[in-house]
Amino acid sequence: MNVGRPLKSTWLTLRFRKLPFSYRIDRRVPLVALLLMAFTLMVLIFSISYGAYDISPLEVIQTISGTLPQDHPDYRNFNLVVHTFRLPRIILAFLVGAALATSGAIMQGITRNPLADPYLLGVSGGAALVAVALIVWLKDLPISLLPWGAFAGALLTAGTIYILALKQGSSSPVRLILIGVALGSMIGAVLTVMLLFGDINDVQQAYVWLTGSVYGTRWEHVQALSGWLLVFLPIAFFMARSLNALNLGDETAQGLGLRVEWQRGALLIVSVALAAAAVAVAGTIGFVGLIAPHVTRRLVGPSHEGLLPVSALFGGALLVLADLIGRWVIAPGELPIGIITAIVGAPYFLYLLYRSR
């Protein structure tokens, strides 16, 4: 792979010697991506060091890299706290953020709807319903199976919403959201019934899960999610070009030689799969899929080759930060990550609503 000479001064083209494939990204992408990674790493280290059991940032780095001296008085404790409790949850937060942001960016692209988000379109609700049902009825279900159930639920919901919003061959952005909201409240009612008759402890836990939380994450959760990301994130990045074409309108895309319906369907499935896998491990976290692509578009422009990976990074960084804030505001208690994103995201949505007219 080498970095070819840019066509215009604002573009970088990545060419692959053996593959009939090139990737054109905005010149700002590498810098923004690097800055985001650096920021995430900083927050990550600080977040691991923060908690009821304080560990200094330097000791965090030593523990993770395995250079903490064996004769350190807290050697065992540090390793336990970092590796068993804090690292998995923070990594999960990052992965969930990346999945939701990419999912949101794809949805905004294919619906040409700036307000699309897996949470607002009811897709997360469908995933959550099936996941809760599986948790309640099949108590000892292996976590790796949960994303499959969530995926089925999310796909069904997304399909229903899309069909109901279809009118004379097109689905208006606003109608999609309204129908998503209505279906969401039906799903909410079913969830309420499932939760009402549970033991109060289970119910409180389910509430936490439904608001979206990475509390009590184990490495199994990270494993379950990363499998899905390894498959679907590359597909998403690979299809970024079709997304660019689709964004120009169906007719233009067709004129450019794209099989529009096929590509849109494939992209929709990728986006639903990413959202569903995230919901299966961390519950319904809203607004990340809305905010991350918007901010990223400001930073690196609307071309999806750069937009998708950078939004993924941005979404990850956002959730790592939100998780830290959630643990910090009412310490020693903690607020679920989904509450933090709703508190930040709802005003942002209103701002977009205000601007979109």
């Binding site: 307000l115 109901l164 919003a165 009118k167 208006s172 606003v174 109608r175 959201i177 309204l178 129908i179 909201v181 209505a182 279906l183 409240s185 039906m186 909410g188 009612a189 079913v190 309420t192 019934v193 009402l196 008759f197 109060i200 119910v203 409180q204 509430y207 936490v208 608001t211 809203g286 009412i330 208690g333 607020l335 679920p336 989904g338 509450i339 709703a342 508190i343 709802a346 005003p347 949505f349 209103l350 609503l353 205000y354 601007r355 007219r357």
Partner: protein, 347 residues
């Protein structure tokens, strides 16, 4: 972007075509409502015959166990259902008329979630607050949420269009309920006291709470009837209303206060029950057309009837357990909302 609706346009086909049928229709609604109430009272863990119900109401005997059940458990419950249904339906009718938004409903516009946040807050802060506090906090929450949604929805170009109002309401609901959830998560005691209530339920409503909140709702209903003529005028458009010499600002302000009384009171009594205010006015309009002098009383009666029947349904569906009536309404109302969003909102 305007969303005119067929239902709100001047010459709709209505079922009660001639004016002379309107009053008998209203009386028929009262009859149906009383029938439903009696049916609802007879149902329960112990089935009680209608004769006993009648006797307990008009010839109360405090040594009779059935009479005691009726007076302390079942009567407050059905009365609460009627009042809540009427309040939510009339609040919805007023909002639909005022904003010319066929999707208006105190649940969708975020007013219920505002009220329930305030009530949860009251329980969280005060532990076991006196019953009068519930209604008070309900009003504060409902009022604040209503003002916020209207402000946010009329932001920007184009003013308060139905879709912007609806979206603002939905997002405000997401925003406020995340705070409500934060409280419920951090405090198990509050959650346990209030979890059935937050789902919207008529179970266990007792006479004292009813007595604390019902007067506000009754005042609201009366007020709604009094300004129904002005609401009809405004529902034809602000320009028409101004042209007819109406002080629209005053009427809107008064109507907003009434909506807050009705929705806030209903939420304080039964928790956030959605979709009553959405469905009922549309049904009422189907019968009586566009005149709010008739829409409002019909809405009140049909709303009471709907919630009573939904409550009966919620009790007999999974006997001996029962569903919250809010869940029943969501199951009925959400498909209706989808139908409206798909076929009645242009764009």
């Amino acid at each position: 972007m305007t969303a005119q609706t067929q239902t709100l346009s001047p010459n709709p086909t209505r079922i009660l075509g001639s004016r002379t049928l309107l009053l008998p229709g209203l009386i028929a609604c009262v009859g149906l409502l009383i029938g439903a109430l009696l049916w609802s009272i007879t149902l329960g863990a112990a089935d009680i015959t209608p004769e006993v119900v009648y006797a307990s109401l008009f010839n109360f005997d405090d040594s009779n166990f059935d009479h005691l059940i009726i007076q302390t458990v079942r009567l407050p419950r059905v009365l609460a259902g009627v009042i809540v249904g009427a309040a939510l339906a009339v609040a919805g009718a007023i909002m639909q008329g005022l904003t010319r938004n066929p999707l208006a409903d105190s649940g969708i516009l975020g007013i219920n979630s505002g009220a329930s946040f305030a009530v949860v807050m009251a329980v969280f802060l005060l532990g076991n607050p006196p019953l009068s506090v519930y209604a008070l906090f309900g009003f504060i929450g409902a009022g604040t949420a209503a003002a916020l949604v209207y402000f946010l929805g009329s932001f920007g170009r184009g003013g308060a269009t139905p879709l912007k109002l609806t979206l603002a309401g939905v997002i405000l609901t997401a925003f406020i309920s995340s705070f409500t959830t934060a409280i419920l998560i951090s405090d198990q005691e509050t959650l346990d006291k209030i979890r059935f209530w937050t789902a919207g339920s008529l179970a266990g409503r007792e006479m004292p709470l009813l007595i604390q909140t019902a007067p506000y709702i009754l005042i609201g209903l009366l007020g709604a009837l009094l300004i129904s003529r002005q609401i009809t005028t405004i529902s034809l458009g602000d320009d028409v209303a101004k042209g007819l010499g109406q002080n629209t600002l005053w009427v809107k302000g008064l109507a907003a206060v009434i909506v807050v009384l009705l929705a806030g009171g209903a939420v304080a009594l039964a928790g956030p029950i959605g979709f009553v205010g959405l469905v009922v006015p549309h049904v009422a309009r189907l019968f009586v057309g566009v005149d709010y002098r008739w829409i409002i009383p019909y809405s009140a009666l049909i709303g009471g009837l709907l919630v009573t029947l939904a409550d009966v349904g919620s009790r007999i569906m999974i006997r001996p357990l029962e569903l919250p009536v809010g869940v029943m309404m969501a199951m009925l109302g959400a498909p209706f909302f989808i139908w409206l969003a798909r076929w009645k909102v242009k764009r």
